[in-house]
């Protein structure tokens, strides 16, 4: 089927139409139908996975006219490559789990909740598959609405504050990106580009000053979503207040929008500016890693702790992505999926004990492993995955990121960031110890039931993925590899060409700014590193031509 991508994306909307006809009091039917819809969506998305050819092209593409009015031409232009493939699969994989987790957690307004979940799924999938900048923006914004309602209606005590903060933070960033997007379109129009298609703009040559402004606008929007220090403050609030399924989706998929935005849009569209700002972004990423780890350590609320650990993990992803080499970006991409699985699992675990005890304070627990052995095992595996123990998925991603970043210009950043790995082990193991070990002295904890069949069913797929990706990551990396190599070549060529073009570096410096020393802009290569001559224009240009020819 040629339009399987559209089918996957809009199946949840069909599910919404179905739900509208189900009376709101038959909660069981509502839940099961939603679950069925998400499972069918997942199964359909598997045909994408099996039909995906391992190469750098965009596949399953659909490109039909949508809006053509005035200076603008927007097309329904979708497709996936190795980079978006796994994020699409991750989304469809997480959704049934998230739905299943709500079966007992949500009792009020079940119908509305399920509709929100399905709308959210369409929004997320749409954003991952869009190859038209305008279309991407639409999906990117549409996602906000169901998430806002999920936090605001079914959230905890401070839900309204958290929901509004989430909405407005994201909105400010994305609206500035919108202006940049419009500006980019007009720049493209001058160069003969006729629609909003993303691929058109890759070959667009922009001068450095323009690139910097546009990059900053895009980077700001994505940095809020990631979230990067110091724009992360909405995340702990949103996570803490959101219902379990909301937290799971927020962590597993929504945050990936930000990092995906860098990989798909901000970096390849403005490669020279991305290079220029790599040290700044890496610095923020590293600060995020350390800071979030330290803050996580002193949290009393387990959910808040997991939320901060998200900030730290996403810091690693950013570090890997901005290494601009295959290892770093592969590691970053892999870590996005890992984080989706392990942090999603952590939020589910927090949800399990919250449903039982209606508290998330660490001090309320202790010695649970005696009472809930299955739970303890599951929690332990997920903890190991989260801290990146070898054999689990977390290890592969983090290792590749650190390897890639160490070999890039970000060597010193990497050294600092590595301490974050240790810190994450500290806070994760410590919270595990405080919750699971020790005396089972709280009488309320002594009657806790272990995981039931449904909860085990939720966790099993995640545990399988943790080990599968940890022990045999090859299929994942193989599928994304060509796309990442292409991206790396694209970015390198552009950055080298920029240095070759006279005047391309002629940035308008503010008055009084000391002149920029060109020699400092070169990447310091680690000792013994093979010279990156492969990035010279002679060898690099064919790669670009190849891409253009497609």
């Amino acid at each position: 089927m040629s339009n399987v991508l559209s089918l996957t994306t809009f199946l949840p909307i069909l599910g919404v139409l179905l739900l509208l006809f189900i009376p709101k009091d038959s909660k069981g039917v509502l839940r099961n139908v939603t679950l069925a819809v998400t499972i069918v969506t997942f199964l359909v998305s598997l045909t994408i996975l099996t039909g995906f050819q391992t190469n750098a092209d965009f596949q399953f593409t659909e490109n039909v006219p949508w809006i053509a009015a005035g200076p603008f031409v927007m097309r329904y232009n979708i497709g996936i490559d190795g980079i978006s493939l796994w994020l699409v699969i991750l989304t469809t994989f997480i959704m049934p789990i998230a739905v299943l987790s709500t079966f007992t957690a949500v009792e009020v307004k079940v119908k509305e909740y399920m509709i929100c979940l399905l709308l959210l799924e369409t929004g997320m999938l749409g954003a991952f598959i869009s190859l038209d900048l305008f279309l991407f923006y639409i999906f990117w914004e549409v996602m906000l609405i169901p998430m806002y309602f999920m936090i605001g209606i079914w959230g905890g005590k401070n839900k309204i504050y958290a929901a509004v903060k989430f909405f407005i933070y994201t909105m400010v960033g994305s609206l500035l990106m919108l202006v940049a997007l419009i500006f980019l379109y007009f720049k493209g129009m001058e160069a003969g580009i006729t629609d909003f298609g993303l691929l058109n703009f890759f070959s667009l040559k922009l001068d450095m000053a323009t690139q910097i402004w546009l990059f900053l606008a895009f980077a700001f929007a994505f940095a809020i979503k990631v979230p990067m220090f110091p724009l992360h403050t909405w995340l702990p609030d949103a996570h803490t207040e959101a219902p379990t399924a909301g937290s799971v989706i927020l962590a597993a998929v929504l945050l990936k929008m930000g990092t995906y935005g860098y990989v798909r849009f901000a970096i390849p569209l403005f490669p020279e500016a991305a290079h220029k700002f790599a040290p700044v972004i890496a610095t923020l990423a590293v600060i995020g890693i350390i800071y979030a780890a330290l803050v996580a350590m002193v949290q009393e609320d387990v959910k808040k702790l997991v939320a901060y650990s998200s900030v730290a993990h996403l810091g690693f992803v950013m570090l890997g992505v901005f290494a601009f080499n295959v290892e770093g970006i592969s590691g970053g991409m892999l870590q996005m999926i890992n984080h989706g699985i392990s942090t999603g699992a952590l939020f589910l675990i927090v949800g399990f004990i919250y449903e039982r005890r209606h508290t998330r304070l660490i001090t309320d627990f202790g010695g649970l492993s005696k009472q809930m052995p299955i739970f303890a095992t599951v929690f332990m595996i997920v903890t190991f995955s989260s801290v990146g123990l070898p054999g689990t998925n977390g290890f592969v991603g983090e290792f590749l990121i650190l390897l890639g970043a160490f070999e890039s210009q970000l060597r010193w950043w990497t050294i600092v960031a590595t301490s974050g790995v240790i810190l994450s082990a500290v806070y994760m193991l410590w919270v595990f110890q405080r919750v699971m070990f020790g005396e089972l002295d709280n009488p309320k904890n002594q009657k806790l039931a272990d995981l039931n069949a449904r909860e085990i069913a939720i966790m099993v797929p995640l545990l399988v993925m943790i080990f599968f990706m940890g022990l045999y990551p090859k299929p994942f990396i193989d599928k994304m590899d060509p796309a990442i190599k292409k991206l790396v070549a694209q970015v390198r060529v552009a950055s080298v060409e920029a240095k070759a073009i006279p005047g391309a570096e002629a940035v308008q410096l503010p008055a009084g700014h000391p002149p920029i020393d060109q020699s400092q802009m070169q990447m310091p290569l680690p000792a013994g590193h093979p010279d990156i001559k492969m990035a010279s224009p002679e060898q690099g240009t064919p790669a670009v031509n190849q891409h253009d020819a497609k």
């Binding site: 200076p71 639409i138 909405f167 609206l175 919108l178 202006v179 419009i182």
Partner: protein
Amino acid sequence: MDMLSIPVVNMTPILPEIFLSVLAMALLLINVFAPSGGQKSYLAYISFIGIVATAVLVGSGWGNHIESFNGSVVLDNFATFFKITFLVAAGLTVLISDKYMEREGCNHGELYPLILFAVVGMMLMASGTDLMTIFLGLEVMSITLYVLAGFNRANKKSNEAGLKYFLLGAFSTGFMLYGMALIYGATGTTRLYKIAEIVGQMTQPSSNVLLLAGMLLTMTGFAFKIAAAPFHMWTPDVYEGAPTPMTAFMSAGPKAAGFAALLRIFLVALPTMQVEWSQVLWVMAVLTMTVGNITALRQDNIKRVLAYSSIAHAGYALVGFAAGNGTGIAGILFYMLSYAFMNIGAFAIIILVAKKGESNGNVMDFAGLASKRPILAVVMTIFLFSLAGMPPTAGFIGKFYLFSGAVQQGYIWLAVIGVLNSAASVYYYLRIMVYMYMKEPTEEFEWVQVTAPVALALVISVAGSLIPGIVPSVILEYAQMAIKLL
């Protein structure tokens, strides 16, 4: 004795105006001779059918270009587009008025003829190509609106609204007329095309003090009508005091009419002075957006929230106007039409939720609406998201084109200020949603009765807020055709 020679005129361009005027007068007569008291719904139905018929009549003139009355009135796509906008606003208003007027005890039959007369005035503003015609249209519109604002005679606030609107309106009209007189003084004509010709021949029109002052004063007068800062002071009080359906009407119709006339004057008569007027509009746009949004943040009365938000929306439209290019101007046309849908729709919900004497008109009174009346809450949510400019609604596409116009013209900062304003505005729209969805209901909302006309109005408004957001071409193409021959 010489016969007074009457020039042969082509009546086609003002056929809709004639039709509506006759209908309005007929309604007045019907109202007099019909048994007094009791139901007035039939007047609303007749008006609505008449409005639909007029819309068909107007629509059939699409694509024509007929000048008449010696070049003082024109039938062109620009006028047609705006006439449809006014008719949409009037039609929706008529649908939501009946129940409200009955509830508030001011169900006087004159309401509907007055609305129709106001539309006639707006239509003349949109099709006038002579400063005098435009002014006459404006006066017809304004005088009926003064009455409509104070229509609820027994209500103090409504009286205040009417009087305030009248006093300030008359004052601003003075400015406008003075400005027009100065333009006449500088050029010797009131015909827009002639003015353009004469100004075009001037070597340096911007150093012609008479013309410049005329332009600025005319702009001041219109800025009052479209509620642009710093001439917006009347808006919140008038909008709050006026009967809610009239507030809805005033926020959509006259604003569009003001833009229609201002666009026509500036783009047809004074295109050579674009540098000058777009600078002024730049500043005015920033002021209007910012004042409207910042003040709206602190309002509790929902009519005031929407009043200030309507100021902000005039500001967004001014962004497109300041840009002055095809993208921005087409954006204004698109936005005015979709704004009529979403704003009147939102007011329709406010009417439903309010109780007699408008006692239930605070944002807090919407608490728990989603639990008790979920469909109404969803409908209101669509309007609010459209007002906030979220995709996939018409409000988003409208803002997209307005801000794109600014970016295309190089006014990046104007667009940035615009989107930041837009982000700020999200807060007060979200606040209404917070009460609807996230607070416990304090009321049962048992008095909320959706009658058939109101339901029809809501369906039309929802369609008008959503469909152009998903397939914008349905309106945008016409908007772009409309500005082509300007």
